[in-house]
């Protein structure tokens, strides 16, 4: 295949339309043509000139028969990562990965030498999942660095990685990480099967993988955790979950992700049980507030006034006086304007962001009340709802909440508190039927797993958390080194 060097070089040149970035250096060693080919933007020219070219020069001066030039080069080249390749496709693949290819005339194999340039940013603190206490490193866009951040934390032979490339044009490297002996093998197989079925032109980010392998596509709630924290990934692996690292993406996927996982932060592992329990209760409360508050308010003031204490109702009535819109419409306007505000806040450059929030939140709200378009109480309701959806780090969860919030409001607008309950029944049925890679979405609450309830809303001291969830691992006892 690769015997005719000139022909191959010609072929590459043709296919790349004589791309200037690909450098071909011809060298004659012992009357044999040797080509050094590399992709300039992806490679480090220092490495090439220091090690490869110099080694070849050195080899040139040694005495040996030309017959085993290939073996000599393979053995003597001063590069650690040497791969033998024997197809034209591999030559191109490694070329685009940043390897340097050495083609020797008349040999059926070629050598690919790792000379990648360091085109990645350094490790920074996480942007989206900040903690007060805990590790401050976050994943970057480089596959190897990301793996390194995880492997640094888990030092065992049992950390198994199955890798594959996906995407016709991008050939993105994907790694599926799991701890052998802890994870249920069928989960890994299932994930691998899903990944292998993907047939796509390219993968740009792990978010695409997430959408491609997620089974519950109709569900609004996320069933896969995305995180940029290596410690979260390490923790998940130890529990028997599977992580997917995608090249060029600073977000790693964790499978499976159930509702309770989105209420936990890494900090929970470090805090005292009682304090963590308090924060978790707060989070569950804010989950409920974020879902129900506008709906319940609308239901109460348009249908079920008898449920409000008289003084409060008089207060509401005074505030509503003069507002020309029905309560549902009033709430809907506010919710939509808040969502627009949030979206624009995310997109504008940070230097004008704060000005926007001030205009949006303060001036618009105040003016709307003074103009009599909305009542002050509605501003309070929307504000508390908006605040309550923010303690969650998972963006998908916040977005899911807002759909359901509007659905609940519709129920309230048509049928009052009965409507809210009707939608709530639908909501809970939906949540109960949801699964994340075969794992019930509401575990450990439904089905109830008592040992796992110790780390759900309440958190017991870390010493008493001895068992893994039966859905995640067959090896349920968290073994310690001393007990071996």
């Amino acid at each position: 295949m690769l015997e005719n060097v000139e022909q191959i070089v010609q072929k590459i040149k043709e296919e790349t339309n004589n791309l200037d970035d690909i450098i071909y250096r011809k060298k004659i060693i012992k009357k044999k043509k040797v080509y050094i080919i590399y992709n300039e933007p992806l490679t480090s020219s220092d490495k090439i000139s220091d090690f490869i070219v110099r080694s070849l020069n050195h080899i040139e001066q040694e005495k040996f028969s030309t017959k085993n030039l290939f073996e000599i080069v393979e053995n003597d080249i001063s590069n650690f990562k040497v791969k033998k390749i024997n197809t034209y496709q591999d030559v191109c693949l490694y070329l685009h990965k940043g390897f340097t290819i050495i083609l020797i005339d008349g040999e059926s194999e070629a050598l690919a030498l790792e000379t990648k340039a360091n085109i990645s940013r350094g490790i920074n603190a996480p942007d989206t999942e900040s903690t007060v206490r805990g590790a401050k490193d976050a994943f970057v866009e480089d596959y190897q660095i990301n793996l390194g951040l995880i492997k640094k934390r888990i030092k065992t032979n049992d950390l198994w990685i199955k890798s594959l490339n996906i995407g016709k044009y991008t050939a993105t490297q994907i790694g599926v990480l799991s701890i052998h002996g802890v994870v249920k093998e069928e989960l890994v197989n299932q994930v691998m099967k899903q990944l292998k079925q993907i047939d796509i032109y390219g993968i740009i980010d792990s978010g695409m993988i997430k959408n491609l392998i997620e089974k519950e596509t109709k569900s609004l709630f996320p069933t896969i955790i995305t995180t940029e924290r290596p410690d979260v990934v390490s923790k998940a692996l130890l529990e028997g979950k599977v992580a997917i690292v995608v090249d060029n993406s600073p977000y790693v996927l964790i499978i499976p992700g159930v509702l309770n996982d989105f209420f936990k932060t890494m900090e929970d592992m470090y805090g005292k049980g009682s304090n963590v329990t308090f924060t978790r209760i707060l989070k569950f409360l804010s989950f409920i507030i974020a879902l129900f508050t506008p709906a319940v308010y609308i239901a109460l003031i348009t249908y079920n006034q008898e449920m409000i204490p008289t003084d409060l109702l008089a207060n509401f009535a005074t505030q509503r006086d003069g507002v020309p819109f029905p309560a549902f419409f009033e709430g809907f306007i506010m919710i939509i304007s808040f969502e627009i505000l949030r979206e624009s806040d995310l997109r504008v450059p940070s230097f004008s962001g704060s000005a926007l929030s001030i205009v949006g939140a303060l001036i618009l709200g105040e003016a709307a009340v003074n103009a009599g378009i909305v009542s002050p109480i509605m501003i309070i309701i929307i504000a508390i709802t908006a605040i309550s959806s923010l303690p969650f780090t998972e963006y998908e969860l916040i977005n899911a909440l807002r759909w359901y919030r509007i659905l609940f409001m519709l129920g309230a607008a048509f049928l009052g508190i009965v409507g809210v309950f009707a939608v709530a029944i639908f909501f809970f049925i939906r949540m109960c039927t949801l699964e994340s890679f075969g794992k019930p979405y509401l575990m450990p609450f439904a089905p109830t797993i008592f040992s796992s309830l110790k780390n759900s809303i309440v958190k017991f001291p870390i010493k008493s958390l001895k068992k893994r969830q039966p859905y995640l691992s067959d090896n349920r006892i968290k073994e310690r080194s001393k007990s071996k």
Partner: protein
């Protein structure tokens, strides 16, 4: 496709049944109290107190010079007719769920309140937890238009006064419509209701200015209990009798008891931790009322030497005697003059021994209780003498 059809059908359900009972807060008039009177020609005259929920121009926070409530009056052959035709005067429909007070005029109460009980029980718009009060010697509309200090909402003012009185004095007790209905439907009990009275100048009292002076021109006063026989008002108790009634019904939470000394002068005890036990003996036709109470000495206006331990026993004895006599007199007065069992003694007899009760009732009929002996014993313990021991003298 099937799912889409299902979805459309589901949405249809919402649309068909949707918005039933829908009412915006700006469409309803929050009613806080209703007063019922009758005109000369037998028509109901209904006064309706509605919360004023109009916003002040511009500033939303202060309630400013606006009146807290509005009083509507309307007439009709029936209560429903009168209530619904309030709409002639008001732009909004009455919302009756939050009503906290029903004021019945003396005239209506004397004529009988059975129709009224029926109306409020039948009508789903009412909650059954509002208080019922008789307006004594005054028109309900007069009582309801007084602008009261501290609690600007007149109805809430009356309700709070009655609750406070029941808690700290014990003259009245909090009787909701539901309680009243229960008492009426039970043949062995009778209705009692607290009463209120209007004091002062009617025309001035309805102005906001009424509360802008330290001594208002008009005010509302809580009065002792009104007693009913069957559906009709038969009379009022005095303050002392009213409290006696509360003692018998074990309704005293905290009260004061002023008794005469053996010599001249009076002293006052604060009664705390009262417990009344009733015991019926149908065989010997005897009802025992035993009051156990703890008290603190609050005031002594007579010559008593508190350093002497015997004085405490003496005080206890005097107080016991006073209380026993108070209750004995009350029972005698009610049974002889009004012939109505407001205490619930018949219910007690029935609960103790239904068979004998029925037998006795056949035998005596209406005069059943008059054949019973009442044995009142009080056991008041003085537990504290206050901060000083000796009387302050020079």
């Amino acid at each position: 496709m099937k799912k889409l059809k299902l979805l459309i059908l589901t949405m249809g359900i919402f649309l068909i049944t949707g918005c039933y009972n829908y009412r915006e807060l700006t469409q309803i008039a929050l009613t806080s109290a209703i007063g019922i009177d009758k005109s000369e020609n037998g028509e109901y005259v209904v006064s309706i107190q509605v919360l004023n929920t109009q916003k002040q121009g511009g500033d939303s926070s202060s309630s400013g010079d606006m009146t807290k409530f509005i009083l509507y009056t309307s007439r009709g052959k029936t209560l429903q007719h009168a209530l619904r035709t309030t709409i002639f005067n008001s732009p909004r429909r009455l919302y009756l769920n939050h009503m906290s007070l029903l004021l019945i005029s003396e005239r209506v109460a004397k004529e009988g309140i059975e129709d009224l009980l029926d109306y409020f029980a039948r009508n789903a718009e009412f909650r059954k937890q509002f208080l019922v009060v008789v307006s004594r010697d005054s028109d309900p509309s007069d009582v309801m238009q007084v602008v009261t200090p501290l609690e600007a909402l007149n109805a809430q003012n009356i309700v709070d006064s009655i609750i406070a009185d029941a808690k700290y004095y014990g003259m009245t007790s909090k009787i909701t419509y539901e309680d009243m209905l229960k008492n009426y439907l039970n043949p062995r009990t009778n209705i009692i209701l607290p009463s209120v009275k209007y004091l002062g100048n009617a025309k001035k009292g309805e102005k906001e200015g009424n509360v802008k002076q330290s001594e208002p021109d008009a005010s509302i006063e809580i009065q002792p209990m009104a007693i009913f026989k069957d559906e009709k008002l038969v009379g009022y108790l005095t303050d002392e009798e009213s409290r006696g009634l509360s003692y018998i019904q074990n309704n005293i939470n905290n009260s004061i008891l002023t008794c005469n000394c053996n010599h001249d002068g009076v002293f006052t005890l604060e009664m705390v931790l009262n417990k009344t036990k009733l015991k019926a003996d149908l065989k010997h036709q005897k009802i025992q009322i035993h009051i156990n109470a703890k008290s603190n000495i609050k005031e002594i206006n007579c010559d008593l030497d508190l350093l002497d331990p015997n004085t405490i026993t003496e005080i206890e004895k005097m107080a016991n005697h006073h209380l026993e006599k108070m209750i004995q007199d009350l029972i005698e007065n009610i049974l002889n003059n009004y012939e109505t069992d407001i205490f619930g003694f018949e219910e007690l007899l029935y609960k103790t021994d239904p068979n004998t009760y029925h037998k006795l009732q056949k035998q005596y009929g209406e005069e059943l209780l008059e054949n019973f002996d009442f044995e009142v014993t009080a056991n008041i313990t003085v537990q504290a003498k206050g901060n000083i021991i000796k009387e302050i003298t020079r």
